[in-house]
Symmetry: C4
Subunit: 278 residues, 4 copies
């Protein structure tokens, strides 16, 4: 029933909500996805907290971050982060810009990120820093101009993420799921790294060899599937699942099962619809 | 249907609850609002935990912090904080006094607050400290006397907030929403700053230029709207939304929609009413 | 309908649950109350996690910590803590023994507790330490023998609490509410103090004069009432309120109101009853 | 009605979920159990997040970690951790491999674990470290080959747990409950120890004598029962209880009670069944 694009858009909405539910995003930040059928387009929500994003909120952009159709709703001011990275990195299918609390001590002190456990390998060893002030002087710190986005994309180079001094992080992935996994586990790693630094001893990083091998295994095995199911279930329990996704899921069940759909599901869907209406 | 004042009072009650739900307030602390039509009056709840405040709890005060009508219920002992600041700062429309845990390490050590990321700009660069002991010697630390409130207001000067040694914080805003936004994001920033200091490196502050620009953009763009919607949704999910607000919201819907109001809403309203009755 | 003793026992059960819900107690620790009509008796739950304690679980003890009636259920092994303190301190009406996480860094390092904000005054300035090893050598660390309890009581002297090295804290109060308030806010203060120490600067304590004044105001004003209402509401929202208390509350309402008791209440009561049965 | 094996398998599923609900496990990690009737077999879930594990997910393995029957579903890649430990340690009836956040600062810095309070005694004094790199060079950090598992088991020796540098922890027990208790309280202790180290003073460990005595009392008294009831209740309140366990529990009640089974229970069971189906 559901076509591949609408399933992908649902996953993008779910990915936004997962990142919020797992402590990577709050009222700010966003996850985007390159159009699966058109590499010159990407999808990003209208301006709203990621925890509230539904497929209906997704706007289609060209790589200059201009909406393909006038959306008639407020848009994120920092969308050039996404467009400029999709231009520079043909391999990238998903981008997340966030301000995860766990990264802030590193960003405020200019401390290099290193993977302190195998799952932290998704962030790489010592990914690059970017400081907007270096090239653009005093700004409001937001990445709004195309040249600011392009500068950030150059700093990212071919790394899996770039740390933005006194601001946040931008991470990429070969899929929405890969990007979400990277954001969540690099955030966990950043937290562990800061706590390790707080106890004042020298900390051990994975070697580059270990990091390369661990980063590969994490995406090629069942680990990604397992984690996605777990975060999905947590979203559901928090009453935060994308309503459309729930409808799709319900449609996939036997008529009998659908007939006795749990009240919690209907309520969550209603609540989500209501918040969408606001 | 709802008049502007009653909507403003609802927002004030909601703002109290948001600050509680987002970790700024607990059993103590309070958010007030200047009367939108009478600059010589302000509204503040009767003495109760901010998470429980409803529009019915709001008391109207003159700027000497005397209730306009005898309320017949216990009042906050520290209300002069609000009155004296409204006297001294005609631009201020809302005041929040709080003891957010994240600020405590700064207040206990006398460490200057600096914005370590763009959203932390709402607190300003190195806002002033005030120590009640300097002028008043040993007290119970509460700001109860008019002269104590006036002293605090002098320390605040034209800053967005003032840090109270071994006590808490008082922040102001041009609206309830602005004040709530300032309290929540300065609290986030204080947390990040302490964690950064714990890892022992020199921390980077936004420059004054960056801070001024960032503080402006945060209130003039869609950011405030986005965050308010987010915190509102979180209040609702926590079962903490102001009952009156829910009623108003329901009234704004089509009759059909109102007819099938979710059970959760009714339950939450009932629960809130019950706790009000206690 | 409810007599004073049964109301007091309900408050004791509620106090146990509040301490659990506010992060002071987990599976272990306990709050007791001296018999309001007989200073030679006290009440303490049978052996179970404090979050599950109901009035039915409370056992009456003499001051040698022998049950007045054979309870026929497992008892806490550390009850001499309570009995020996009631013997030594006639002013004490309630005792709480806990292992709040926030205190652990102080207990593990032997760092003196100091009030870093006004509400922390409830713990006093530099309350005494007690180390079971000093007098009793290697033990299993539990305070089980009468002489161990008596030793702890001597260390407590006339302080509001005593810190037990590599173990936990024992705090007292003039009522269950006072004791609960002391435990919760001294725990908050311990958290702030540790975080302040982690950023490496000298920390400021309230002076003894400030501490005495602040500790007084906290119990003599509306603060205690306000906090109790807040914690009570949080217990209810967590589905953890004592069932008996709910029944009592329901009885106090009009018949009509009782007739439409919210489903959540019934469910919570049922859940609690079930867990009691286990 | 329920036979001993099916009760044991239910406890194993419950133990997985408890460790998840108490912050020891997230999407990764796993708890296993030796077959109670056949020391050459053990049970471990198919590859899925431990919070979702049901008795139906459990696979029976021989000690070479080969499934007794082809399961037809993805399996954990690190199951040799369990098999090799069961081979080397006949006294061990349960194994848990985890990456609890609280341990990460110790693992990243190579800091010895020491019990800083009596319940931390379950982890022992200075349990051994194991570094996969020492023997196997650059790997993806996962313990997949039998010789890697055997190496880890040798490092564990007769300790209650082994710390895996830049990876996680593996702990054992004489029963599932004992193992779960060890994992949860050693995790709490690790958190307190790190926080103590962050405030920069020398920290006090239990002496070996105290540790031995405390570790004994924790398993031989009512403490284990009390804690298990508490974690069970918390699982239920989180809507995470194993569905089969609920059915068993319901069966044990009177028909009348079963007739008015709370809606929450049915809903949770339905939700769990649904997630199982995914």
């Amino acid at each position: 029933m559901a076509n591949p694009l609408s399933e992908a858009l649902r996953d993008l909405a779910v990915g936004n909500r997962m990142c919020a539910n797992e402590g990577v995003l709050d009222a700010f930040g966003h996850v985007s996805m390159r159009h699966p059928d058109n590499p010159n387009r990407y999808f990003l929500s209208r301006s709203r907290a990621p925890e509230l994003v539904s497929p209906d909120d997704l706007i289609e952009y060209d790589l200059d971050s201009r909406p393909v159709r006038e959306p008639g709703v407020p848009q994120y001011s920092e969308r050039v982060i996404h467009g400029e990275i999709y231009k520079a990195r043909p391999d990238v299918m998903s981008v997340c810009h966030h301000h995860a609390p766990a990264f802030m001590p590193l960003l405020a002190t200019g401390t290099d990120y290193v993977p302190v456990f195998h799952l932290g390998s998704v962030g790489g060893v010592r990914p690059p820093f970017w400081d907007q002030h270096d090239e653009f002087g005093d700004t409001n710190m937001l990445v709004i101009k195309p040249e600011e986005g392009a500068s950030l994309a150059r700093a990212l180079a071919d790394y899996p993420m770039v740390l933005m001094r006194r601001h946040g992080v931008t991470a990429v992935g070969v899929s929405v799921k890969d990007c979400v996994f990277r954001c969540i586990y690099s955030t966990r790693n950043a937290e562990y790294q800061s706590q390790a630094l707080a106890i004042g001893s020298a900390i051990a990083s994975l070697s580059r060899g270990e990091c390369d091998l661990a980063a590969k295994i994490n995406t090629s095995t069942t680990g990604l599937t397992r984690a996605w199911e777990y975060w999905w279930m947590r979203l559901e329990r928090a009453g935060l699942m994308v309503p459309a996704a729930r409808a799709v899921a319900a449609a996939g069940k036997s008529r009998a099962a659908a007939g006795k759909a749990p009240a919690r599901k209907a309520k969550a869907a209603k609540a989500a619809k209501k918040s969408r209406r606001r």
